[in-house]
Assembly symmetry: C2
Homo-oligomer: 255 residues x 2
DNA sequence: ATAATATGTGACGATTCGTCACTGACGAAT
DNA sequence: ATTCGTCAGTGACGAATCGTCACATATTAT
C-alpha cells in the first residue's frame, strides 16, 4: 500500500468533507435508514480504519452531516438577515428560509432531524456534539441580528421578563417545531393531514410575532404579499430548483 | 418446546406490552443508544422469532414504545383538559403536562423524540407509523377541547384565516419545539445554556396565546401564580416524584 | 385416525461493527 | 548510507447484531 504523507489540519478537514459528501449521496440513493459504515467505506478511497479515525460510528457521522448542513442553513439565515425590509418581515423570511432549505436538501434536513434524536446523540462523539451546539449558537446570530434591528428601530420591545436570547429561542423553536412536526409535508403534500407546512409556518410566525407586539401587526399589514415578493427576490434560484422538483410554495391557501 | 394455544387479539396485545415494558427497562438501565433486539429477546420469556412477529426491528420497537407512551401523555393532557379554570390557563397547564411527562418518564420521552427521526421512521412498520399518526390526532382532542371551550366562552376568537385545527397545531408544535430543543435541560440544568425549559415554555405559551388574543392576556393576569397553584393541585403525585428525582420545577426565574 | 393449519423456536448465515497487528514513508541519529 | 523510532493507513478478523426459516408440536377440520 502507499503510505500517506504527514497530515495537516486542512487535509484532514478535506477528507472528512469527502466522507460526508459520499454519505449524503448514499442517503439520497438508498434512504437514510440504510446508511451503514461499511457502505460509506465502500464509496470512499480510504480504508475503514481511516473512516473510523474521523467518526466513531454511523450516528457520529449523521451528526457530523447535520453540523455540516447547519452551516448551509446558516448561510440562508444570513441572507435573510441581510435582506431589505422591516425587521419583522425579515424574521418571517428567515423562518421561511428554513423551509426552503428543507425542501431543497431533504437528505440534509433528515440528518438535522436525526441529530436531535437521543439514539443518535447517545452514540456520537463529544467533538461533534460540541460542534453542533456551537453551530446552533451561530445559527442564532442572524436571528439575533434581526431582533436587535427590531429593538433598535422601535418596531419591537422586549416583552416583560424576557431577554433577547429568549426571543431568539422562541422564534427558532417555533420554526423548528412546526417544520419538524410537518416534515412529512415538506417534500410534497402527503394527503395525511389538512395542514400545509408553509401556511402553518406563516400563521404560527404571525401569532408569535403579534404576541410579541412586533410591528407591523398582522391586522395592519399583509405579510403574505410581502413575503412572496421577498422570497422571489432573495431566493429565485432556490425557488426554481424546488419547482423543478415538482414542489412549489403554496400561497393560495392563505392569502 | 411447548407450542402455544391459538392466539387471540388480547393475548397478542398483552405480549406486545410485555416486550415494550422490558425494552423500556433496558433503555433505563443501559441507555437508549444501547438497545438491541438481541438484548430485548434475552429479557423476555419468548423467542427471537416471536419478538420479530411483533416488531420488524429495533426502530419499529422504538416507535411502538413511543406510541405506547403517547397514550400515557394523552392521559396527562386529558387531566389538564378536564381541570377547572379558564381555557387559556388550562392550555398552559396542558403544555406543562408535556414537560412534567418528559421529566417523569425520560426513557419514554426519549422514545417520543426518536419517533420523529427519519432513521427510525424509515425502518418502522406501516402498522406502527399509522398507529402513531392516529395517536397524535387523539392527543389533539384535549387541546381541541380546550380551544373549543375558549371559543365558546368568548375568551378566544379564531384569528383571521385560521381554523380550529391550525390553532391546535400551533400550540402543540410550540410545546413540542421548545421542549425538544431544550430536551437537554429537562432532567436537570445542563449548564450549557442560560435557557430554562420551564421558563421558555411559559414565555413562549404566553407569546403565542397573546398573539391569538386569548384572554386574559399576559398584561391582564399573572399566569405564573395560577399555573403553580393548578400544577400543585392537579399533579401533586407527579411533582413529588419529580422532586424525589432531584429535579424541581423552577419558577423563581420568571415570577 | 389422519391431514391441514397455526404458532413458537433458536440455530444459522448474513451483515455490520469496531479493532489492531502489520506495513511503509519519513525524519533523526549515528 | 544505515538504522531506529514515529506517524498514519490498512483491511482481515472476531464480535455483535440482525433477520430468517426448517422444524416441532398443539389444535382444528375432515
Amino acid at each position: 500500500m502507499t503510505p500517506p504523507k504527514l497530515l495537516d489540519e486542512a487535509a484532514l478537514k478535506e477528507r472528512e468533507l469527502l466522507i460526508i459528501n459520499s454519505a449524503v449521496l448514499l442517503i439520497q440513493t438508498n434512504g437514510i435508514e440504510n446508511l451503514t459504515m461499511d457502505k460509506v467505506v465502500a464509496q470512499v478511497p480510504f480504508s475503514k480504519g481511516t473512516v473510523y479515525k474521523h467518526f466513531i460510528g454511523k450516528e457520529d457521522l449523521l451528526l457530523a452531516i447535520s453540523n455540516y448542513s447547519i452551516k448551509v442553513l446558516g448561510d440562508l439565515f444570513y441572507r435573510a438577515y441581510q435582506f431589505k425590509g422591516c425587521a419583522r418581515s425579515r424574521m418571517l423570511l428567515l423562518n421561511f428560509s428554513y423551509l426552503i432549505y428543507a425542501m431543497l436538501y431533504p437528505a440534509l434536513f433528515q440528518c438535522v432531524m436525526c441529530s436531535k434524536s437521543p439514539n443518535v446523540v447517545g452514540k456520537s462523539s463529544e467533538k461533534h456534539i460540541n460542534e453542533g451546539e456551537l453551530l446552533e449558537v451561530k445559527l442564532m446570530t442572524s436571528i439575533h441580528g434581526i431582533v436587535e434591528d427590531g429593538l433598535n428601530d422601535g418596531s419591537l420591545s422586549l416583552p416583560l421578563n424576557m431577554d433577547i436570547q429568549q426571543i431568539c429561542f422562541s422564534n427558532w423553536s417555533m420554526a423548528y417545531g412546526a417544520i419538524t412536526l410537518l416534515s412529512g409535508e415538506v417534500e410534497q403534500c402527503s394527503g395525511r393531514t389538512s395542514l400545509i407546512v408553509e401556511r402553518e409556518l406563516f400563521n404560527h410566525s404571525n401569532l408569535l410575532h403579534d404576541g410579541m407586539g412586533w410591528q407591523p401587526l398582522s391586522k395592519d399589514r399583509n405579510h403574505c404579499a410581502e413575503l412572496k415578493t421577498a422570497l422571489a427576490e432573495l431566493f429565485p434560484e432556490e425557488l426554481m430548483q424546488i419547482k423543478a422538483k415538482g414542489r412549489e410554495l403554496n400561497f393560495e391557501s392563505f392569502s
